[in-house]
């Protein structure tokens, strides 16, 4: 291999390693976080942005689900799960996407931009020409896992949970 080619390749290797390192590992100091921002811009442009904080720094401690509550003109109120229940051999992969959307992102305060388009989508999905939708609500229900104790821990089948609810968005429909 020609020397110049090798220098060029080595520069690319170093750049690549720098980008995956600074974008991948958590920030530890100011310099690191400044470089991280710059490296992140390159990673997004090239298509190698990372996300390796799996179940970290702490795993979530609740089971969360999002629901759509539809109120119709005749007073009927119906509740639907945001997630669909996939069937078949590819179900685990489809389910992982629905879980990510419904359990991680839709309920996330930093992802509020997802709520209005979701309202539009569910309005169309559950519309009824003879009985129009009056209002639509997206809410989240979650169950917190009983805290760990060194003395005794509840069986995996009977772990107590604290049920909680939160309304994420309510939209009244115009005629």
């Amino acid at each position: 291999m020609k020397r110049l080619t090798k220098y060029f390749l080595n520069t690319l290797i170093l750049m690549y390693l720098g980008i995956i390192y600074f974008t991948g590992v958590p920030e530890t100091n100011t310099l690191n976080s400044r470089v991280k921002q710059k490296a992140m811009n390159v990673a997004f442009a090239v298509g190698i942005w990372p996300s390796w904080s799996m179940f970290a720094p702490n795993p979530i401690k609740f089971d969360s689900k999002s629901f759509v509550e539809v109120t119709y003109k005749n007073g009927d109120i119906k509740e639907y799960d945001v997630e669909v229940e996939p069937k078949g051999i590819l179900a685990p992969f489809r389910k992982a996407r629905w879980m990510k959307y419904s359990q991680d992102n839709l309920r996330n305060p930093s992802q509020r931009a997802l709520l209005n388009p979701a309202i539009q989508y569910f309005r169309k999905k559950y519309e009824n020409k003879t009985n129009p939708i009056v209002s639509l609500q997206i809410k989240r229900k979650w169950a917190e896992v009983h805290p760990f104790s060194d003395q005794s821990i509840p069986s995996i089948y009977k772990t107590p949970r604290v049920q909680k609810n939160e309304v994420l968005i309510t939209k009244k429909m115009e005629d």
Binding site: M1, K6, L9, N10, I13, L17, I20, Y21, G24, V25, P26, F44, A45, V46, G47, I48, W49, P50, S51, W52, S53, M54, F55, A56, P57, N58, P59, I60, K61, D63, P86, L90, P92, F93, R94, K95, A96, R97, W98, M99, K100, Y101, N105, Q111, L114, P117, A118, Q120, Y121, R123, K124, V145, F148, S149, S152, I153, S155, I156, Y157, T159
Partner: protein, 314 residues
């Protein structure tokens, strides 16, 4: 103290030594298969995730205006119609098959990468670590000579009387190995920033997340000492995959422990493609003679198992 000259020699040896291409080409087949499954698993929910207008949970114009910085996104240049949205997925599935069988491998991998990045930019709200891992690996695959063995390209080339060289530079394999190690190292560092992994209670919480459960392992996670053992073992194995795997004497035991960890997670939890791509990539850490041994032994074991199963059945 190591001299600069010795460092450069080591660098050259590490990145540019030549090796047999079998491991890389077998990885291409497995990885191509996962890319294909990924594409097929998108078909049924396609309208919801990538459709046009109110048929999608995130409208196209919203997703295009979402990012202020430059991103690869073919949807920006396509007409906003259902047909063009479907064309992207169909092209992605087709190129993933081409990657798997090794037909026009280099160009197929490049197109597949561009389409995958575009789809991930089109709808970021459904991405998990498996999607991120596949994208980062596909980036490196674009530069790797994955076509030199076990591929239609290699077959056609041989037929023409111009067979490919099957000893390749280690460069892209090393970069893939480093990427994998960094995934483990990064996740370990993220976990060490919290307290549940450090005090040994993390597996208690993850094992009780009903939404993630696949097969509930009875008793194993009902005792505090087993919970702590499982938590710290997982953390140590992840750390080892990021560091000790580079030490010759520890490589195989660490890989074996990593394999058990991923199989354990796959059995008990539902987390998309992540575990499978990780397991497939372990082959890149094997020496050529170990790959050869696997190639010789695995078909024999499978054949023996099939024979036993069929004789028991009939």
């Amino acid at each position: 103290m190591i001299s600069f000259k010795a460092f450069l020699r080591g660098w050259d040896h590490f990145f540019y030594k030549r090796t047999d291409a079998s491991a890389l080409c077998i990885f291409r087949i497995m990885f191509g298969f996962f890319l294909f499954l990924n594409g097929i698993s998108l078909v049924e929910d396609f309208q919801v995730w990538y459709g046009i207008g109110d048929n999608a949970l995130i409208p196209l114009h919203d997703s295009l205006n979402f990012y202020s910085n430059f991103r690869i996104n073919v949807y920006r240049w396509l007409s906003p119609t259902e047909t063009s949205a479907w064309m992207v997925l169909i092209a992605y599935i087709t190129t993933s098959v081409f990657v798997m069988v090794g037909f026009k491998t280099r160009i197929s991998t490049i197109i597949c990468f561009i389409l995958m990045v575009s789809m991930q930019n089109r709808n970021y709200s459904i991405l998990n670590s498996g999607d991120t891992l596949m994208r980062c690996m596909l980036f490196l695959m674009m530069f790797a000579p994955t076509h030199v063995k076990y591929s239609v390209d290699a077959y056609l080339s041989e037929k023409k009387g111009l067979p490919y060289r099957t000893d390749i530079s280690l460069l892209t394999i090393r970069l893939m190995q480093l990427q994998f190690s960094l995934v483990y190292l990064a996740t370990t560092l993220f976990k060490l920033k919290g307290y549940d992994w450090v005090d040994g209670t993390a597996v208690y919480y993850t094992s009780r997340l009903v939404n993630f459960q696949r097969i509930v392992l009875p008793f194993v996670f009902d005792f505090p000492f087993l919970i702590k053992f499982a938590t710290w073992s997982a953390l140590f194995i992840e750390f080892a995959m990021g560091s000790l795997v580079w030490i010759k004497e520890f490589r195989l035991p660490v890989l074996f422990a990593g394999l058990l960890l991923h199989l354990g997670i796959e059995v008990s939890m539902s987390i998309g493609f992540f575990e499978w791509v990780m397991i497939a990539a372990y082959i890149l850490f094997l020496e050529p003679k170990e790959v050869k041994w696997l190639q010789q032994c695995l078909p024999q074991i499978v054949r023996r198992q099939l024979r036993t199963a069929s004789s028991n059945f009939f």
